[in-house]
């Protein structure tokens, strides 16, 4: 029996998941294809919407700043409405695991690099630690973890002029692991409270060398996994201070937690998920896609659908590929504009306004990828998330927001068309 759905979503990150949920909400049957683990385990788990425009930030209200973005930016294509729509999907998915939904304004969160950054939604474990909330803060790092150095981060925050006192201490984790144990191993020990790890950790902090009369204590995000709330509560209780987490780089527990939330929501919405095999091509007739070809261990299997959403990510997720001469979208061979001289793809300054950061397909006003003549490649193909060009999500701090807004739009439109 051939595989056939109303809507087929290619890609399992934030954009793909949101598109699948939005399509599902229209009553369409939906299948989501995901190849590998999403790039969320490398992401902080924060949901940024817009934190800077052309290097100018931090922005307090992202919605007021959208008009300053270039015309070809995905936000300008789908509009503020779609950002709100995307955030609505996210808030439904995240429930009380995330905060920030009470306002359009960005919060400022601490990063593991000792900086602050603007974000729209943040895990509830991060919420007590906002830099935009004044409360004296003790940062705690671990002697064996190299990614976060609490005294350095504290000094960095002080240099930023945060409206509170901040100090940092380094303690030994109460249980000795191999020297290069990662945060995930520490989280597990706290989760299971191995050897009274929670109590001993609180004890080490109470004994730590600081003169600060702190209101809250921040840790790199490793305070448990399955029983994270219980870990935080117990530590807060023992320390007599609020306890919060600071988002980290890979492996990011908060990013993985977000991935779990999304997949639970997909299950609940009845989205069918096919994981583990790559989409490699397509069949089309009369300007419409008929199926997407999936390589199942060397065998080409067509997945039929009335509407398709491309949400395969950008350069990191391999939704956009390149070689020495050109930049391409590998599944549908959609047009990806790029300078012919590859040295024009990047700037001299490491944090410059790199063209490569904005590489991606060019959508029409209905998010359909267009060819060089600005005509849609296929009537029934829409794109969402990192595969779209025109946004430098790294400098803008807009990655999750672009995925949510365009995912919500593309999924809804695909569902509407398929069920019309």
């Amino acid at each position: 029996m051939p595989i056939r759905e109303d809507v087929l979503v290619v890609g399992g990150g934030i954009a793909g998941s949101t598109a699948a949920l939005a399509a599902s909400e229209t009553g369409a049957t939906v299948r989501l294809l995901s190849h590998k683990k999403s790039t969320l385990r490398q992401a902080s788990g924060l949901v940024d919407v817009l934190g800077a425009v052309d290097g100018d930030g931090p922005i307090a209200n992202p919605f007021e700043a959208i008009e300053r973005l270039p015309d070809d930016h995905p936000y300008r294509v789908v509009g503020a409405e779609s950002i709100h729509e995307g955030l609505r999907f996210f808030d439904d998915v995240a429930g009380d695991v995330y905060a920030g939904g009470h306002t359009d304004h960005n919060a400022l969160v601490l990063t593991h690099g000792g900086t602050i950054k603007p974000t729209a939604r943040y895990p509830d474990s991060v919420a007590p630690g906002l830099a935009s909330a004044a409360a004296d803060t003790l940062l705690v790092g671990f002697a064996g973890l190299t990614d976060f150095d609490a005294p350095v981060a504290a000094d960095h925050l002080a240099a930023t002029g945060v409206p509170f006192e901040v100090d940092g201490v380094t303690v030994r984790f109460p249980i000795e692991f191999r020297d290069d144990a990662r945060t995930t191993r520490l989280a597990k020990a706290l989760d299971a409270d191995e050897d009274h790890a929670r109590k001993r950790l609180a004890g080490a902090i109470a004994d730590a060398d600081t003169d600060l009369d702190y209101d809250r204590v921040g840790f790199p995000a490793m305070l448990g996994d399955d029983h994270a709330a219980a870990v935080r509560d117990e530590l807060a209780d023992r320390l007599g201070a609020a306890v919060f987490e600071i988002p980290t780089g890979p492996p990011s527990l908060l990013g993985m937690q977000l991935e779990d939330l999304l997949f639970d929501a997909l299950d609940e919405a009845g989205v069918r998920i096919s994981a583990g095999n790559p989409a490699v091509g397509y069949e089309a007739a009369d300007g419409r896609l008929e199926s997407v070809t999936v390589d199942r261990r060397g065998q080409n299997v067509p997945y039929h659908a009335a509407e398709v959403v491309l949400a395969t990510g950008g350069l990191v997720g391999k939704g956009i590929d390149s070689d020495r001469e050109s930049v391409t979208e590998p599944i549908f061979d959609c047009h990806v504009p790029h300078p012919s001289d590859r040295y024009a793809w990047s700037e001299d300054e490491a944090f410059g306004d790199h063209a490569f950061a904005r590489f991606g397909v060019v959508p029409d006003d209905d998010l359909r990828p267009t060819d060089e003549a600005a005509e849609p490649h296929f009537e029934n193909l829409r794109a969402a998330g990192g595969v779209l060009g025109g946004a430098d999500v790294a400098r803008e701090k807009s990655a999750a927001g672009v995925s949510l807004a365009t995912g919500a739009y593309a999924g809804r439109r695909a569902g509407e068309e398929a069920t019309r």
């Binding site: 002697a143 303690v171 300054e349």
Partner: protein, 593 residues
């Protein structure tokens, strides 16, 4: 302020450090000055080939003989800097038989062990060689780490009483009564045990004899003394691959040409190179076509290079020299031999000599000759021992040990550390107190090794990188640049660590730009996201004067109250004031190390 020593050496590359070591071992009071870090110039920008001499066996037999001689010396005195990979001169169908025979005869005439291999035998050693190769000559080429070599020479010089000054640029050569009597240097910002001056400060350093060992920069120093040293700087590109496609040095067996060598180096391979004369050794174009030329031409020898991932490219400048009367048009025709220019004899300016030309493989021999010359001038009667005495790190080193058990490191990490540190392994890893996590995963560099390098090099992370290879692997520092900066604490301030991080990040980016396509572009975007998005390092308000209006931002679902949620109990406050033994001890250990 002024200081006096018997000999002053200008240039902290392999030659200068080699001279400082040689003279210091002979008991001569010597000071070395370098404008940047050690290896700042050409030494830090070479392909890492330990020549067998095979490359010069037809065109320049004098150089070839010196190479094989020094190749044997370095294997003995610098074993922890050398990997004896062996080398092949590979003939393709379009390459002349006659040249192949000349190469073989030349090697034999110069005393270079050479053995002819059939195509099948060569491909058995290196399976990725092209299927249509004709045959190959096997020679004892190897790989050498120029940074480690240079630092070991400097360390040994200091051990023998020399003074080494980095970040000290010579701004003038002092001539009094028609004789060179010293130099004036200007100090730049820097830290570590080789930095003694303060930024912006100038200092006159007097000496009985001055040695100009500045390679491609020798003409500039000569000018300050009023003598002409006609160095002909020639640039060459080197492209670094993400893995070792070959484990043997692969040379194309044909007369001089661009893009004819692949050198396996640590975890990577380095493709080289070009040979093009430039005006200024510090300002020349670095162009994409040069990178493409490496990949396209060397793919003829090793086809998988065409599709393989490169992680960056860099350029170096050879300090070529030939006596002005030779007048070669093409830089590839200029001899690779070295020349000692006695400015007294040559220009009537006593008190100074320049050493020009040559190559890293023969650095020690160059240093010996110039040290002999200096000793003769100064009337010092002492023998050279640099060919017999191993460098620090290469003494009595037995690799037959279980590093994992001994230092709590996983085997591959311990092994790589031990390879880099050689006989210093015990000192660096063994004496480290506290957890010793891996800071750079690509190159397997642990905290102990990073801190050892910081001790030596100070807060400049690029110098730490050169000593340890941290941030030089596939991810180009995406995962470890900030970790390296964290290791500067608590010895250095946060502002110093932040500046060092920015400098390292920018230095890495410079070379990455030459490899931005395919996998490496994907890697670069991930790095951009980790540092700009996750850490907001590009929008860091701490770097600007503009204050942030914190009140304009979301203060949490419960507003101000969220922050006040957990008022500290009286007990906890009381406890918090007590200094904990464990933590105090840890801090002290960090500061001592």
């Amino acid at each position: 302020m002024s200081k006096r020593s018997r000999v002053l050496v200008i240039g902290g590359g392999s030659t200068g450090c080699g001279i400082a070591r040689d003279l210091a071992m002979r008991g001569v009071d010597v000071t070395l000055v370098e404008k940047g870090n050690l290896t700042h110039g050409t030494t830090g920008r070479m392909h890492g080939l330990l020549h067998s001499g095979g490359r010069y066996a037809v065109s320049d037999q004098a150089s070839a003989e010196e190479c094989i001689q020094e190749n044997r010396v370095l294997r003995r005195i610098a074993s922890h800097c050398v990997e004896m990979t062996g080398g092949l001169f590979v003939q393709r169908p379009e390459d002349a038989d006659e040249y192949f025979e000349q190469k073989l005869d030349g090697c034999r005439e110069c005393g270079i062990p050479a053995e002819v291999l059939s195509a099948a035998e060569a491909r058995e050693i290196e399976p990725y060689l092209a299927e249509d190769i004709e045959r190959a000559i096997r020679v004892p080429d190897g790989a050498i780490d120029p940074f480690r070599l240079c630092v070991a020479n400097a360390a040994d010089a200091v051990e023998h009483g020399a003074r080494v000054e980095t970040h000290s640029e010579v701004t003038d050569v002092l001539v009094e009564d028609g004789e060179v009597v010293g130099v004036e240097v200007e100090h730049a910002a820097g830290s570590g045990k080789y930095v003694h001056g303060h930024p912006g400060e100038t200092e006159k350093l007097y000496a009985d004899y001055v040695v100009n060992a500045t390679g491609a920069w020798a003409g500039q120093i000569g000018e300050m003394a009023g003598v002409e040293v006609a160095v002909r700087p020639s640039k060459g590109v080197m492209t670094i691959m993400n893995v070792r496609q070959v484990d043997t040095v692969i040379n194309r067996c044909r007369p001089k040409g661009d893009a004819d060598i692949v050198v396996p180096h640590e975890t990577t391979c380095i493709l080289g190179t070009t040979d093009e004369e430039v005006e200024d050794p510090e300002d020349y174009p670095e162009e994409g076509w040069e990178v493409d030329l490496m990949i396209d031409t060397l793919s003829e020898l090793v086809p998988i290079l065409d599709e393989a991932r490169t992680i960056r490219s860099f350029w170096g400048v050879r300090p070529l020299y030939e006596p002005p009367e030779v007048g070669s048009e093409d830089p590839t025709d200029i001899t690779r031999d070295f020349f000692l220019l006695d400015h007294d004899e040559r220009d009537g300016l006593p008190g100074m000599a320049s050493i020009v030309g040559g190559k890293l493989t023969t650095y020690r021999m160059m240093a010996e000759q110039i040290s002999d010359h200096v000793c003769e001038k100064l009337g010092v009667d002492a023998e050279c021992h640099t060919a017999e005495e191993p460098l620090p790190g290469s003494e009595d080193f037995s690799v037959l040990r279980e590093w994992m058990d001994e230092f709590g490191l996983r085997s591959p990490i311990g092994k790589r550390s031990a390879q880099r540190l050689g006989s210093r392994t015990d000192e660096v890893l063994g004496e480290w107190d506290g957890p010793n996590p891996t800071v750079c995963e690509c190159e397997a560099v642990t905290r102990a090794e990073i801190n050892d390098a910081i001790d030596d090099a100070g807060s400049e992370l690029n110098a730490v990188r050169l000593r340890t290879r941290a941030s030089m692997g596939n991810c180009q520092g995406a995962f470890c640049c900030h970790r390296m900066a964290n290791e500067l604490s608590p010895e250095y301030d946060e502002s110093v660590a932040r500046k060092a991080l920015d400098d390292l990040y920018q230095e890495r980016w410079k070379g990455e730009r030459h490899a931005l396509w395919g996998e490496q572009l994907s890697q670069a975007m991930l790095k951009h996201l980790l540092h700009a998005t996750t850490m907001n390092r590009d929008g860091d308000p701490a770097k600007t004067d503009e204050p942030v209006d914190f009140t304009a931002f979301d203060a949490g679902p419960d507003g101000e109250a969220a922050a006040g949620n957990g008022q500290r109990s009286e007990d906890a406050v009381a406890d918090g004031g007590i200094t904990d033994e464990t933590n105090a001890g840890e801090g002290a250990a960090d500061a001592d190390s």
